[in-house]
């Protein structure tokens, strides 16, 4: 069994304030997990804003350097030391961003993005080969080159555009996609088409996906494993179904209790138990704590002296 991605005790601190200020913020503290190369999976990172989930994703993409710890992709540090290594890494790990309308330049036709990706990462020179690579990637996401060619971002719906963004990421045939909140800016009626697409990429094309979200319901729907992050710390990690059906850490429980359900539509149940909020808030700043494994395979952070 070989590892695809290994995140080993990674922390990231940012300095805050001016030159004289010594204040630092720990965006990610001591995160560790790994993805296996043989078994493609959807690995979900759940957290609220400020939980460090995007910082973690940026470190995996090599856009930020960890303060301590290391991240390796197929045994080599992410990012790559030389230009050739960097290009090889970039073609294997591709990002999909939150807002498709911001990810594309409004004055540039969409196929030009796809084309430059195909030329840079696949080294294609021949027109027909470039078109074939673009069409192949677009077919995977349910679009075709004929639909996309010559069109500008404003001519497509949010769902189509996000699918085009995923198609662009798929051109170099990456084994790993990093999707940072890919559905939060997409309309309700189109959201499931993106989520189903990520699922199909895993099942049909063997692509592993790191899916970053704050939406527990879609996380439950598509992911294999997940981690829940609170203020930079992993508080619970394990099989998605096991954890979400019966979360153990108080913060995970609070997140689950805050999901709006439609089961009692019209009854207007909105109150959150204030004790749950207080406990989860207290643990956010509680010192230390350790991830302890449980018989069902999950890891939960427990704190010394705290209940």
């Amino acid at each position: 069994m070989t590892t695809l991605l290994n995140v080993d005790n990674v922390s990231k601190t940012f300095a805050m304030g001016g030159v004289l200020s010594r204040k630092t913020t720990a965006a990610v503290q001591d995160a560790s997990f790994s993805l296996a190369a043989e078994k493609p999976e959807i690995f979900t990172i759940i957290g609220e804003s400020g939980s460090g989930k995007t910082t973690l994703a940026r470190m995996i993409l090599g856009l930020e350097t960890p303060t301590t710890g290391s991240i390796t992709f197929r045994g080599k540090p992410v990012g790559g030391a030389t230009k050739a290594e960097r290009m090889a890494f970039m073609s294997a790990v591709q990002p999909v961003f939150q807002n498709p309308f911001e990810a594309f330049n409004p004055l540039k036709q969409i196929d030009r993005y796809l084309e430059s990706t195909a030329r840079t990462f696949l080294g294609l020179k021949d027109r027909t080969a470039v078109d074939a690579a673009m069409d192949g990637a677009l077919q995977k996401v349910g679009l075709s080159l004929a639909e996309v060619k010559g069109r500008y971002p404003h001519e497509m719906s949010g769902g189509q555009l996000q699918r085009a963004a995923i198609a662009r990421a798929l051109i170099p045939n990456p084994p790993l996609l990093i999707a940072d909140e890919p559905v939060s800016m997409v309309d309700a009626s189109l959201r499931m088409s993106i989520v189903n697409l990520l699922k199909a990429l895993r099942d049909d094309f063997g692509v592993s996906v790191i899916y970053i979200t704050h939406d527990l319901a879609t996380a439950y729907y598509i992911s294999n494993r997940l981690i829940i992050m609170q203020r930079g710390r992993i508080v619970e990690m394990g099989d998605a179904r096991t954890v979400l059906e019966n979360p153990e850490h108080p913060y995970s429980r609070l997140l689950k209790a805050s999901v709006l359900s439609t089961e009692d539509a019209g009854d207007g149940k909105l109150a959150t138990n204030p004790d749950m909020v207080a406990l989860a808030t207290r643990l956010a700043t509680a010192p230390g704590g350790q991830l302890v494994s449980r018989p069902d395979g999950r890891l939960v952070r427990v704190y010394e002296g705290a209940a």
Binding site: S189, S193, S258, L260, E263, A265, T272
Partner: protein
């Protein structure tokens, strides 16, 4: 509820045959975008009315008309929007600026989307409150501040926020400040446009329950707009669905979720994933239609699984199919909920 209120008519807002278009004429070329096309509906006193629809469905245009905040080239072409306020009835579709000025904030208020861009970043919150509310309330100095502070207490905000700048507050607190701005004059009618879309799950729930508490305490009516059906499930008394500028279905919240009578509503409800259920969710193909050239007949027919030839040519009327429940579909009797209610139940929380 007091006796005086019982004698008032049940509806605070009556919209009749409202058509509002964006009309542009450049270099002799006329272009018309029919953002609101023949909407008739009412909002009752002390009720939360949810409006759902995706982007470019015309829902924001519709509430711009309700809020009397429309600017050319967006114009009301036909119909009326009548409010029945304590100060007297007003038809905001045909009112003068002075009439609208008289009701704004005091009777008709608006909670805006994106609290970061609503609050002036270089003005302290207290100054923003003065700008908004000092004139409608007719208070100044200490009396005004006391009134604001006591109102903020209800929203669980400390008085210190009045001296803070917007960037010093968290997203949830900023959103509570904008709710405070919209409600400090105790308006009878509040329009809330996606007030929680940018918030995290835990904060979102807090803000939603706050809006409802304030609404119930003041006895106001709220029109609540969001594309998130799970928010409607927990907030609204009644829900109306807007598709391509038209109201396609309207009914009590529970019925909309468990017995929808329009295929679009059925789809919206069925596509919501739930914890404890991993069955494949259907995705609706196609894209929302352009309002500049909407499809003929029923505007949903190109994406509708139930479409027949009649749907391509004839516009279905919005007809009453059950008490309080109206739908615009030729085949409403064939619409089945795509997810059985009992399947929604997963493992208890």
């Amino acid at each position: 509820m007091t006796l005086a209120q019982d004698n008032k008519p049940r509806d605070i807002l009556t919209v009749e045959g409202l058509k509002a278009y964006y009309q542009m004429s450049y270099f002799g070329v006329d272009r018309e975008v029919r953002a609101v096309d023949d909407i008739t509906m009412t909002v009752r006193r002390n009720e939360i009315y949810g409006i759902a629809g995706e982007s470019s469905s015309g829902k924001t245009s519709f509430i711009k008309v309700l809020a009397a905040a429309l600017r050319p080239p967006f114009r009301v072409v036909a119909g009326s929007v009548k409010y029945d306020f304590a100060s007297g009835p007003v038809d905001v579709a045909n009112a003068t600026d002075a009439q609208i000025e008289a009701i704004r904030w005091r009777h008709l208020s608006y909670i805006m989307q994106g609290s970061m861009s609503v609050l002036n970043p270089v003005r302290r919150i207290g100054r923003t409150f003065e700008d908004f509310a000092a004139r409608p309330l007719g208070l100044r100095g200490k009396a005004f501040e006391d009134r604001v502070v006591s109102h903020l207490e209800k929203l669980k905000l400390p008085a210190d926020v009045l001296r803070a700048y917007p960037h010093e507050l968290s997203g949830g607190m900023r959103q509570r400040v904008t709710i405070g701005l919209a409600t400090v004059c105790r308006p009878e009618f509040i329009i809330a446009d996606e007030p929680t879309t940018a918030l995290d799950v835990v904060v979102q729930k807090e803000v939603l329950s706050l809006i409802r508490d304030v609404q119930q305490e003041m006895g106001s009516s709220v029109v609540f707009v969001t594309h998130d059906m799970s928010v409607h499930a927990n907030m609204a008394d009644r829900v109306g669905i807007i598709y391509a500028g038209r109201l396609v279905e309207e009914g009590p919240t529970r019925q909309m979720f468990f017995a929808p009578k329009h295929p679009y509503t059925a789809h919206l409800v069925a596509s919501l994933p739930r914890i404890g259920d991993t069955t494949q969710r259907p995705a609706l193909e196609g894209r929302p239609p352009s309002l500049a050239s909407p499809p003929s007949g029923c505007r949903f027919h190109p994406r509708c699984p139930l479409a027949i030839d009649k749907c391509k040519t004839d516009v279905p009327p919005l007809e009453t199919v059950a008490p309080d429940h109206r739908t615009a579909c030729w085949r409403w009797q064939d619409v089945k909920p795509l997810v059985a209610p009992h399947a929604a139940h997963g493992v208890p929380a």
